[in-house]
Point group: C2
Chain length 73, copies 2
């Protein structure tokens, strides 16, 4: 398992934005066309997400990529 500090921060950022929109992990998964448990893994900082999936998340959360990264670094 990965468990890197930056990944954890990114995961928390995703969770924060998801809850802000009142979505469940499954809701977000559907919107981003990703799997429920995969979203869970991201939020826990256990997944080293590749760029194109980060883009999917940003689109699903309806925010620019740069905003998604805000607060991560």
């Amino acid at each position: 398992m990965v468990k890197n500090h930056e990944l954890i921060k990114f995961g928390l950022r995703v969770r924060e934005l998801r809850l802000l929109k009142g979505l469940s992990q499954e809701d977000l998964a559907d919107l981003a066309d990703l799997h429920r448990t995969y979203i869970g893994g991201i939020e826990r900082g256990e997944r080293n997400v590749a760029f194109l999936n980060i883009v999917r998340l940003a689109k699903a959360l309806e925010i620019p990529l740069s905003d998604l990264m805000k607060g991560v670094d």
Copy 2:
């Protein structure tokens, strides 16, 4: 080969920032502890870079992640 539109934009962004600092691909590769040809592949939009390598690039380029993503989406 990948060749996705978002990846191309990201690659161009990396190139733009690299040249702004007057670095060669090899210079950036050394700074980010990545391989020379890998950097080339990223700039050509042929690599679906994972999060932790995006972080490395941002640090090597001495800019926040959010700035690196700026202009990509």
